[in-house]
């Protein structure tokens, strides 16, 4: 990766953190720690942007940083508008880093920030206990107007003035010097007041320290960012300047300005190069860590997904190769070789597990995205949503998380749009004003479950039934179970909302959600209670590519059935099975439909003894009748290519140990 690319990765990381902090701020506005974090991220963003020539990023982050320094100092309150503005700017940053032009957006945001800061200025002047504004700028005007009792309080005004002088670049104006200052000091009777212009490389806090013993209304520190700032008199009630006095100031200080901003630019350059040095140092440390293999707490190495994928591919092929070896070994009687291969097997499995673990990331990484989505939608729809999460440390394959994101968002969109009621409706139904949306996840076996639960109005099964009939999906005269009715939601072209709204009704239906989840070998299910809400449960396999399967055959051709789906296997006589016209078997006292693969593929010559494999997939049972079972196999699973994608009774293919290929059965689809 070249430096530029690294920078982009870094910026995206910062933006992600920034977004996360903003979401925390939504939960607890004005949380000082998070505000400080936001300020810091913006500062880092600004610092590095200039180096890589992203002027727009520099400009926007600079302005945002201003805003947040005011928020941090309590001059402006972090409110919803600002949160929106900042979130919007995060989007703009992303556009900018992707090379898009967003000038107009930037100007809009900058305009908003300026309005915000301006309106706060008036508020600020009435605020007696102002603090120093920690600006990135390091030029300040200090208005110093000590009270009459200053001497009696043991404060030495001359010491303060001297110390300011010691700072370096400074200029003092003595106002109202009716009696020479020296005389005033000797008489311990102060009538003058002071204006100090300070250009310094010290931290703002250090400047503030000089005036530590003065009261809030005795001094005011104003950061100077431009020449224009010199002519504004934003003073408090106790410190006022006449126009003439301002004139004096502008005249006297203007001469200083070029120098001053020169110093400042230099200072920032120094700061940035120091930051960069630090960054490099950290990088170096990371490299060392890898070389020496030393474990450091929380040490992370960023690896590109391509590299990871290639690792996974190699590991996958090794798993296949191991099967091949095992296959070859079946006829050998060399015990030592057998032992060696067993060892290899254990190691490959270990290698496989670690390789897949690398790809696992906690579900938490999409939380912020979902939070933002919820924020936007609930605002658009005028609904109040309390979003709670649980078990987001559950890990999933990175690729899986990427793929599941869109379906999740769609489900959430639907839940808020169609599930949750408006605050008024909720109050009428004796519910909390805020609707509840719970996003939770947990592991079970080699599956991950993700649930989205809302406490809205739930699905109206009767409505679904009518609509299903209307759309020709359901049969008017047939009785349907609740589960079957809910399943209709996943049919193409089905939507229960009377008015197609901007949020959910954008042509992407729940059928697409179902399809996408199925393509991950996952399942989605709905439970609902009218008036109380609904739960969407998504079940996903832990990894996408390796699968324990049962190998079955129909004549020469082999097929794979995921072991997790197999409930029971037995041998039955062909005559007995095909005795009746309806293709059903009795299993555990239940009538279960079966599909004979031989029949399905139009082959004849049925064997005398057939093998029945009972498959249970999410409580839906189907039996598959095959010639026989060959064995258990851990296979590397690959999706089918475009040509075969429409054949939905197969969800993938795999190369077997002997080099032949086998198709992965999606048994439930055989029935249709």
């Amino acid at each position: 990766m070249d430096l530029q690319q690294e920078y982009i990765v870094e910026v995206k990381e910062i933006l992600k953190n920034l977004e996360q902090s903003l979401m925390e701020l939504q939960e607890s506005p004005n949380n000082p720690e998070e505000i400080n974090n936001v300020y810091r991220y913006l500062h880092t963003l600004k610092g590095s942007a200039g180096l890589f020539g992203y002027e727009d990023i520099e400009r926007l982050s600079h302005e945002m940083e201003y805003l947040y320094s005011d928020i941090r100092d309590g001059i402006i309150d972090q409110d919803d508008f600002i949160l929106d503005l900042t979130l919007h700017s995060v989007d703009v940053f992303i556009d900018l880093i992707d090379g898009k032009n967003a000038r107009n957006e930037i100007e809009k945001i900058v305009g908003d920030i300026q309005t915000l800061c301006d309106s706060s200025q008036s508020k600020e002047s009435s605020n007696i206990n102002q603090e120093i504004k920690a600006r990135s700028s390091s030029a300040y005007i200090v208005i110093l107007k000590p009270g009459e009792n200053i001497f009696k309080r043991g404060i030495k005004i001359q010491a303060i003035l001297e110390e300011v002088e010691e700072l370096g670049n400074s200029e003092t104006i003595i106002h109202n010097e009716t009696v020479p200052l020296e005389q005033q000091l000797a008489d311990k009777k102060l009538v003058s007041f002071f204006e100090l212009l300070i250009a310094t490389e010290d931290e703002p806090d250090e400047i503030k320290d000089i005036f530590m013993f003065l009261k809030g209304d005795e001094f005011k520190i104003i950061p100077i960012r431009s020449k224009a700032d010199l002519s504004i008199p934003p003073y408090s009630d106790s410190i006022k300047l006449s126009e003439k006095e301002i004139e004096i100031r502008v005249e006297k200080f203007t001469k200083w300005i070029p120098d001053l901003f020169h110093t400042q630019a230099k200072k920032e350059a120094v700061e940035i190069s120091a930051e960069l040095k630090e960054m490099r140092q950290e990088e170096k440390e990371d490299t060392i860590e890898i070389v020496s293999g030393k474990k450091r707490k929380n040490g992370h190495v960023n690896v590109s997904t391509e590299k990871l994928d290639s690792l996974i591919n190699i590991v996958s092929e090794m798993v296949t190769f191991r099967s091949e070896l095992q296959h070859l070994m079946q006829d050998q009687k060399n015990h030592k070789l057998n032992e060696a291969i067993e060892k290899l097997e254990r190691l490959t499995l270990k290698l496989r597990d670690s390789a897949f673990n690398i790809r696992l990331v906690p579900l938490n990484i999409i939380k912020v995205k979902l939070q933002r989505l919820i924020r936007t939608i609930s605002k658009d729809l005028g609904k109040e949503v309390e979003f709670i999460t649980d078990g987001l440390d559950t890990e999933l394959d990175r690729g899986m998380i990427n793929a599941i994101e869109a379906p999740l968002m769609h489900i959430i969109r639907n839940a808020i749009d169609h599930g949750l009621e408006t605050p008024e409706e909720r109050l009428q139904h004796n519910k909390e004003k805020k609707g509840l949306l719970k996003f939770s996840s947990f592991n079970s076996g080699d599956h991950v479950f993700i649930q989205i639960q809302d406490d809205g109005k739930g699905f109206d099964l009767e409505k679904i039934r009518q609509k299903g009939i209307e759309k020709g999906i359901l049969n008017k005269h047939k009785e349907y179970s609740d589960k079957e009715l809910l399943n209709v939601i996943f049919f193409p072209g089905f939507s229960t909302a009377e008015n197609v709204s901007k949020i959910s009704g954008r042509g992407v239906g729940m059928d697409v959600v179902k399809k996408e989840i199925s393509s991950l070998r996952g399942e989605v299910e709905i439970e609902t209670e009218k008036g109380l809400g609904a739960i969407f449960t998504i079940r996903l396999p832990l990894t996408l590519t390796v699968l324990d399967t049962l190998v079955v055959n129909v004549s020469e051709q082999k097929y794979l059935i995921p072991i997790s789906e197999v409930e029971y296997c037995y041998v039955a006589e062909h005559e007995e099975l095909f005795e009746k016209k309806s293709r059903q078997i009795q299993f555990n006292g239940q009538l279960t439909p079966f599909v004979s693969l031989r029949e399905f593929f139009g082959k004849k010559d049925f064997p005398k003894n057939e093998t029945v494999v009972v498959i249970n997939k999410n409580d839906t049972k189907i039996a598959v009748v095959v010639d026989g079972i060959i064995g258990k196999l851990q296979t590397v699973y690959k999706p089918l290519n475009e040509l075969l994608k429409s054949v939905d009774c197969f969800s993938g293919a795999s190369i077997l140990g002997d080099g032949s290929t086998a198709l992965l059965l999606n048994a439930l689809k055989l029935q249709n």
């Binding site: 001497f151 309080r153 043991g154 110390e163 311990k188 530590m212």
Partner: protein
Amino acid sequence: MSKKIVVAEDFNVSRKIIVNLLSKAGYSILEAADGQEALQHFDGQDLDLLITDYNMPNMDGAELISEVRKNEHYSYIPILLLTTEVKEEKIQKALDEDITAWIKKPFQADGFLKIVNRALK
């Protein structure tokens, strides 16, 4: 010549800590366990700072401060007043007229030294 600081604090442990801190920083200390004792140090000699507790037996901090200020020689000496609780507004305001700064107890050593150093400038 090192600067001279009067430290008035009735609680021995606290006083020792303060004295230790300030001696290490290179100041000369005159100790006092109450206001009356402290006042005896204000005998016309050159002093640079008074650090006093508020609640003390015999003579409390407020009284001590007003006595010190009455002495022309010490009218402008910096005074740091140690306190644990927020005082009534009236008392606070009155004291504000006479002291350099409040120091809230408990305090951090470096923050305390920073204030002392500045008061002595």
